[in-house]
């Protein structure tokens, strides 16, 4: 729907942020931060994904229903990951072999 036409410069700024974040995530990967590496990598990736969703996919200006669908998909992915982890984090005997 030609609901909300964004000015071109919004796209270019978002593009620049995305490139910078890519550069950032690659640099951080080469520093030894232990467990923080994964947190940083996922954090940056989530940030990049959110700005793509909000601006490139116009969700920022879309109906509340679209918001519900987007948040719903993330929530259901969370259910799958979280409840599976309730099993794997608390298994007493180690896996091996």
């Amino acid at each position: 729907m030609s609901s909300h036409i964004l000015p071109k410069r919004v796209y270019y700024t978002i593009f620049a942020i995305l490139l910078f974040c890519t550069y950032l995530t690659v640099q951080i990967a080469f520093l030894d931060l232990g467990a923080l590496n994964t947190v940083a990598a996922l954090g940056i990736a989530t940030f990049k994904a959110t700005i793509v969703v909000l601006f490139f996919m116009h969700v920022k200006y879309s109906t509340r229903l679209t918001w519900a669908v987007v948040l719903g998909s993330v929530f259901w992915l969370g259910i799958l990951l979280a409840l599976t982890m309730t099993d794997y984090l608390t298994r007493v005997w180690r896996h091996y072999g």
Binding site: W93, R94, H95, Y96, G97
Partner: protein, 302 residues
């Protein structure tokens, strides 16, 4: 144990009968009491009563929580074996059960156990997922390839009880049955001593330990390149990666099959993998052998 499961079962049966009869009775009664007498009659309007709705949401919730707590307590009892148990190893293989007592007896599809003593089965599978199910003891546990699962029961009455495979495992899944034979302790001893042809599991493990040349690196005098195994079982060891790890069946088995996964601190990951070189039975023998190695007295008598 069977008693506790039965009590929970009868409690639930009572609740189910109560609610089924209630609902079935009500709908049949209403169907008859308010049956349509003339074709155009319309039902009287009843405005929903919030109290009723909340009532029949909260009450089933409370009942289900009671059942949950009771079920959980029974499950805790089932899933945590007592400390002192008679350990028996079980290897499930496509369509047969192999049992191994610690003193070396091997049995196929039959398991002799003494009455009155808690028995713990330590189980693994050689191919697909199986499941040891003894209906009389109300116990069941899947047998998964690649790791040990365990199950415990305490028989109270001598006799012969069915043992089924309860996880579909292929063509002769229904043929993969066996029998648990519960005997008086005295009878069990005679049976035990009668059939021990090639010595205990640990002794078989010791022989294997030499054949596979494990002793070249694992020496009692700590000169070898591998850690000293005497008295190691049950202790916690420091790992290369800084974590600590208790030495139990799973750790011994993993270190044989996949040595580099959890290298002990101060040692190089040079041990070759034995994956595919040792069968499940041989693994059990080695584990028993390591368990049987007592800590040496301080003086190096060997």
């Amino acid at each position: 144990m069977a008693g506790r499961v039965d009590n929970l079962y009868f409690f639930l049966l009572a609740i189910s009968i109560f609610f089924s009869v209630l609902i079935a009775g009500l709908i049949v009664f209403y169907a008859i009491r308010y049956r349509r007498r003339d074709p155009d009659s319309v039902g009287t309007v009843l405005h929903g009563m919030m109290a009723l709705e909340v009532g029949w949401t909260v009450i089933p919730f409370i009942i289900s929580m009671v059942i949950f707590v009771w079920g959980a307590s029974v499950f805790f009892a089932i899933s945590r074996p007592p400390d002192e148990t008679l350990n028996i190893y079980v290897v499930g293989k496509q369509w047969m059960w192999k049992f191994q007592h610690l003193d070396g007896q091997r049995e196929i599809n039959e398991l002799h156990v003494p009455v009155g003593r808690p028995v713990k089965l330590i189980m693994t599978s050689e191919d697909v997922i199986h499941d040891v199910f003894v209906p009389a003891f109300r116990v069941k546990a899947d047998v998964i390839p690649g790791r040990y699962t365990n199950l415990w029961f305490q028989p109270t009455k001598p006799g012969r009880y069915h043992l089924f495979c309860a996880e579909y495992c292929g063509t002769r899944h229904s043929g993969m049955t066996g029998e648990v034979i519960v005997m008086e302790p005295s009878e069990f001893q005679t049976w035990l001593s009668g059939g021990a042809p090639e010595g205990s599991l640990a002794s078989a493990g010791a022989k294997l330990f030499q054949d596979l040349a494990c002793n070249t690196c694992h020496r009692p005098d700590a000169q070898g390149r591998g850690p000293v195994l005497e008295g190691l079982f049950g202790k916690t060891v420091q790992l290369q990666s800084g974590e600590t790890n208790t030495v139990d069946e799973a750790y011994v088995r993993e270190s044989i099959l996949n040595p580099a996964a959890k290298v002990a601190a101060g040692f190089q990951p040079i041990m070759p993998t034995f994956q595919g070189l040792v069968t499940e039975e041989q693994l059990l023998e080695l584990v028993e052998y390591v368990k049987s190695l007592q800590a040496l007295p301080q003086v190096q008598t060997r």
